[in-house]
Symmetry: C2
Subunit: 355 residues, 2 copies
């Protein structure tokens, strides 16, 4: 008998479900909890359109010291919710922001946060539409992005079918590289924070909608994203585990310098804003050509399989089935002790089949 693959093996899913159980669902809502990166809501008076809306707060990454530059904080706070719009293929309108900073933050700091938000928006041709500000003991930055999606082209995390090709919109791992640099106290020059300027894939999302079989962003890392797609779809993946194809060059280089196994850059929880998508085999070549014409260079990750399991396939053909749940749940257990977290992450990953 197959092992049961369940959503609630992951504590974060359990927590979201606990909240969602209290809330009645809008009759105009297209998606159930977990099913899409952004909420998809019928727009009164617009029978062909869904409103796409999503909210995301950046706080833990600031408090833990992962981001030190206010520009990074603002950039990520804006991009994170815009990336959720990308993953549902929305035409993005922009976002409203809620900024909570300690009274002691000076104008330079606040200006840095604001410029990070603004330049993230300009990069994507969208706008900060408004916001709220508060004085709080710790920094917390929330973005709520809105856009629209044609109902006929709706794209969610659901819809993977066996045989679908699975792609990533660009090379990943920068989020985990920055995380590793911080957790191990690396000197700044080994992985400067300004290398972490991940861009939401709005343009790619517009090409993917109506054509990808499912889509989700990599904000929680590549393997976590695949794991969540597996749990949601009840389908698994065969993944080509030559990580040097998947990870950005400077991430691979950092791994080499620090003797960190590559899989940790794919399995870590701090991602960026690439999209992972499936596409039915017959439609893949047309979609890839359109993406490439837009300057996107998709990376083949593998194939959807019937059985809900994550199978890594080495270049030797050796297959390893991995279990991401213990790694995903580790964040709750050991996040407040960086050394212990890193040690347990490595050990748990190995025990889960990663190498």
């Amino acid at each position: 008998m197959l092992p049961m693959i369940r959503m609630d093996d992951v504590t974060e899913n359990v927590s979201i479900d606990a909240w969602a159980r209290v809330f009645a669902r809008s009759p105009g809502q297209r998606n159930a909890p977990h099913e899409s990166d952004a909420e998809l809501i019928e727009l009164p008076g617009s029978p062909d359109t869904y409103l796409a809306i999503t909210i995301d707060t950046v706080a833990e990454e600031i408090r833990s010291g992962l981001y030190r530059d206010p520009y990074t904080m603002g950039w990520v706070a804006a991009m994170a919710s815009l990336s959720d719009l990308a993953a549902v293929g929305a035409d993005a309108m922009g976002l409203v922001v809620s900024v909570a900073v300690p009274p002691a933050c000076d104008d330079t700091f606040i200006g840095g946060v604001a410029r990070g938000m603004e330049e993230a928006c300009r990069t994507l041709g969208v706008f900060v539409l408004g916001g709220d500000s508060n004085a709080t003991p710790e920094i917390s930055l929330t973005g709520c992005a809105v856009g629209t999606v044609p109902r006929l082209k709706v794209m969610t995390r659901l819809g993977l079918e066996p045989g679908d090709a699975v792609y990533l919109t660009g090379r990943a791992g920068a989020g985990n590289a920055l995380g590793l640099a911080r957790l191990t106290g690396l000197p700044d020059e080994l992985f400067p924070e300004e290398r972490y300027r991940p861009e939401a894939r709005i343009a790619a999302g517009l090409l993917l909608r109506g054509r990808a079989s499912a889509c989700m962003d990599t904000s929680d890392g590549v393997l976590t994203t695949l794991d969540q797609l597996m749990r949601l779809n009840g389908r698994g993946f065969e993944i080509d585990c030559d990580w040097t194809r998947v990870l950005a060059d400077d991430v691979v280089e950092l791994a080499a310098r620090t003797e960190t196994p590559h899989w940790m850059m794919a399995a870590g929880p701090h991602g960026e804003f690439e999209l992972i998508f499936g596409v039915h085999a017959a439609q893949a070549s047309g979609l890839l050509a359109d993406l490439e014409a837009e300057g996107v260079e998709p990376i083949r990750l593998g194939t959807v399989q019937e059985r809900p399991a994550l199978e890594l396939v080495a270049s030797t053909g050796r297959r390893t089935e991995i279990d991401m749940a213990p790694l995903r749940n580790l964040l709750d257990v050991a996040a407040h002790d960086p050394e212990r977290y890193l040690r347990e992450f490595r050990a748990t990953g190995r025990a889960s089949g990663l190498e």
Copy 2:
């Protein structure tokens, strides 16, 4: 020569302007900063409709101990952004929420927050559409509400004309009563927290849109709202200062028991979610009749006057011009010392002409 009445006499306006200066304005945005309670954005493909969107974080009210019951926290977090939709006359769709709570918060606490949000939404027939959760040292609850407004019926804070009648949608002061109770350490039974369940005036907003000359909610208190409308419109108000008509019965009663002057309940910074609106004299009676048919009992506050000043008119006919800027700015100065704040608030109010 008249004294200059400026937006930037109020430090909160200065702070909002500093943020807004960094952000390019969307070409599809109907309102400039400060001009409306919610942002009004052209909806692509819907030439007759604006999207209304707004974000509001509740954190300071929790940290300061103003709200102790998690249900109140959730209720207010939901209602605050829905009230901004009411003030632009939007058909509300619902809201997304971002909840940040300390890891130590137990299920009872979190369940209380969630129920407060949910029951606030049910009261208004709208929905929690989705959200984000984070672990942070202090509680912070953000709501981002969305809705739509017909472009031809747009309603903002701008448009007051001399002679317009000015109304409040319901009796106010509960927010400041709770604030007073907390600042003075009153026993709970004198003003129980569960009396503070202010409701956003969505239904009233739908009747006001296209008919009120301007509208703004009282979330920062009645006199602050009038002061802000004055600065924005460059018009003033003659206000009937029989506060017993304006304040709720239990607020008047609390003032009597605690020997607090009534004006403090109108001038304090912690409001509720009534709407203050202007209406051209010729249109007032029809609008009032429609509001009353909906169960809303508007209270006449006074009249718009040409000169940008807040004039309180006593029943004796005596006129007093008040200055709200020093009171509004006091929150920055003395908020962290409740006794000093209350003492200075009283003294500053008297010096500003309030009695």
